[in-house]
């Protein structure tokens, strides 16, 4: 029997995930081994925060190491996966900070909550480095099952149950679709490893086109569910509304970021190895998905007076801008003939352009992570437990006159709304700038124009919140929950990140540029 010889180099990339998993186990065991009478849960959020911070630091320290296959090619360690892990840990840390106050206010703080958060983070980190379909599926499920349970965490009332149930059923279906697609691709090529798949695809397309296209399509649909792309977004508003606000934040940031990472990792070889026609086909497909997602997401968000639902639809819209980046990743400019004149990626000279597009996607993911965590954090600070059964906890009216009552919170929320709308000097503006520029460079000018128009529509409903906070008088008798230093710390951190990265994105975007290297390139 061939016992594989594993070295430290195999284990080092999974170290962040391992740390997160160990953190989760520590929280689980300390939760149940305390006696019920003297139980004190104040330490839990700090433990979870510490583990996320250390995992993030480890990931950041090893991100720029050269790309290599680990665990016999079942995983891959490249700067891209490292950067995604860092993003996940940032999201996780902020989400833990917001959760502490949110759960305490509802008397729902338990070790399991933070444990599941950390397990979800571990799954995300492992998913970002999965290089084989079975591995990818299992890690996707680790992430998803944790988030299913988390979204039903506040079990009282119909909303959390609906959120958990809907997310579970649709998530299970999408995972099944993904596995079905992967199995068809296995049938066509005889491998589940992404690195081997690339070389076998041309022959598979030639001999079994139906099987290969259908397999690839089903895998894309499975992942499109996770990123909430239209028309696979139906679960998003209900799930985001019913889930605890910090969990909605993590879903919109971490789950989305890692699903995009998987999408890029699975489909970039298709664009690279299948020749010009297929790259063009994929560009068309993803461009159409991006257009639909941007337009529908923004239009559906327009009439929402429920800020949490508005943020859910805004999350859909942002998936659209990211898909625009993905479409640009698969295309290259020819010199501007016609609206969709693109030539596909070729290895070598186009590598730099591809790296730039990846950098734009990563930067956008980072921008959206901090902004989304900040906006959901502000919402979490504001929403009162009493209003939840009636569903009025997230009404736009709750924001009326917030600038007088809570100037700090109002300022943070305003910064987040400007960032989501893509207005300078915020990180959201820089993110949109990078990603639209990548689309223009790739020859997708019409799509970039559509994206700008769609985000202009978005400005309306983001600014409406700002208008309510600064120009509407406060309603009588509206109170806000007591201040929690953890939530306020999360708000300060994300606001600082949104503004600082918006003013001076240089250092970080340079680092992300270096990290925009995939193993398959």
């Amino acid at each position: 029997m061939n016992i594989p010889s594993l070295t430290f180099l195999d284990f080092q990339p999974v170290l962040p995930a391992l740390l997160l998993a160990v953190g989760g186990i520590v929280l689980l065991l300390t939760e149940v081994f305390q006696s019920a009478a003297t139980i004190n849960r104040a330490y839990q959020s700090m433990v979870a925060l510490a583990f996320s911070a250390v995992a993030g630091a480890v990931a950041a320290a090893t991100t720029l190491e050269p790309a290599r296959e680990v665990f016999l090619g079942f995983g891959v360690s490249d700067p891209f996966s490292g950067a995604v892990t860092v993003l996940v840990c940032v999201g996780l840390g902020l989400s833990v900070l917001v959760s502490a106050g949110f759960l305490r206010h509802r008397n729902a703080e338990r070790g399991e909550f933070y444990a599941l958060l950390l397990f979800a983070g571990a799954g995300m980190s492992l998913l970002a480095m999965s290089n084989e379909f079975i591995t990818l599926f299992i890690n996707l499920e680790v992430m998803s099952v944790s988030t299913y349970a988390l979204s039903a965490w506040l079990r009282r009332g119909t909303r959390p149950s609906e959120a958990g149930f809907k997310y579970f059923i649709l998530g299970a279906f999408s995972a099944a679709i993904l596995v079905y697609g992967a199995s068809l691709l296995y049938g066509a090529t005889g491998t589940t490893k992404l690195s081997e798949l690339a070389g076998l695809l041309p022959a598979a397309v030639a001999s079994n086109p139906g099987l290969t296209y259908l397999g690839a399509g089903l895998v894309a649909v499975g992942l499109a569910f996770k990123v909430a792309a239209v028309p696979f977004h139906m679960w998003t508003p209900d799930v985001y509304e019913g889930a605890p606000t910090p969990v909605s934040a993590l879903m919109s940031a971490g789950v989305k970021a890692t699903a995009f990472a998987s999408l890029v990792r699975v489909f970039l070889p298709f664009a690279q190895d299948l020749g010009p026609n297929h790259a063009q086909l994929m560009t068309y497909a993803f461009a159409a998905l991006a257009l639909l997602t941007m337009v529908v997401g923004n239009l559906m968000a327009l009439p929402q007076r429920n800020v949490k639902r508005m943020l859910a639809y805004s999350s859909v819209a942002h998936a659209g801008y990211l898909l625009l980046g993905v479409a640009a990743l698969f295309a290259r400019p020819t010199g501007g003939e016609g609206p969709l004149a693109v030539t596909p990626l070729l290895a070598g000279a186009e590598g730099a352009a591809r790296q730039q597009t990846l950098q734009a996607i990563l930067f956008y993911l980072l921008a959206y992570t901090v902004t989304s965590l900040g906006s959901f954090g502000a919402l979490a600070a504001l929403e009162r437990r009493e209003d939840e059964p009636r569903g009025t906890a997230w009404d736009l009216e709750k924001f009326a006159g917030l600038s007088q009552r809570k100037p700090g919170w109002a300022l943070a929320m305003a910064a987040m709304m400007l960032s989501l709308g893509g207005i300078p000097p915020t990180v959201g503006f820089m993110g949109k700038l990078f990603i639209f520029r990548a689309a223009v460079d790739a020859g997708l000018v019409w799509l970039a124009v559509a994206g700008v128009l769609a985000s202009a529509a978005g400005v309306y409903y983001y600014l409406r919140v700002v208008v309510y906070m600064y120009m509407r008088p406060s309603q009588d008798g509206v109170t806000v929950p007591e201040r929690q230093w953890t939530t306020e710390l999360a708000l300060v951190l994300s606001t600082a990140a949104v503004v600082l990265l918006g003013v001076a994105p240089g250092t970080l975007s340079a680092w992300l540029g270096k990290a925009s290297v995939l193993f398959s390139q």
Partner: protein, 121 residues
């Protein structure tokens, strides 16, 4: 070479079981005396009139037990292929299984201490 050879005993058992099941019901149908009266058609329940449907809704608390059963069932499944390769895999395989089992045992300790295995009223 056929994959079926080892399954011959299983086929035999299935055949015998099938024949036996059919035979017993057939014998009972043909040989048993049939004398019907209204009392016999009545629901047999200790003299009480049956009220409502017999299909009661199951309590969700059993669901936890059912789900834990499946999880540990799947865990046990992974032990079989490891056990038959135990010697060949050596310490490498042993450490692999230690990590795997330890993770699931954490889950067992958790549900045990949490009291999820006790049926709450």
């Amino acid at each position: 070479m056929t994959p079926l050879a080892p399954y011959l005993p299983i086929a035999a058992v299935l055949g015998v079981a099938g024949v036996l099941a059919v035979a017993i019901s057939a014998i009972a149908t043909f040989l048993g005396p049939k004398r019907f009266d209204p009392v016999k058609f009545d629901t047999f329940e200790c003299g009480n009139e049956p009220i409502g449907s017999a299909r009661q809704r199951f309590a969700v608390k059993f669901y936890v037990v059912a789900l834990l059963f499946i999880v540990f069932d799947v865990e046990a499944v992974f032990l079989y292929p490891w056990a038959v390769n135990f010697k060949a895999l050596g310490w490498f395989g042993y450490m692999e299984m230690v990590v795997f089992a330890a993770t699931v045992v954490v889950g067992l300790i958790y549900v045990w201490k949490k009291g999820a295995l006790e049926l709450e009223s």
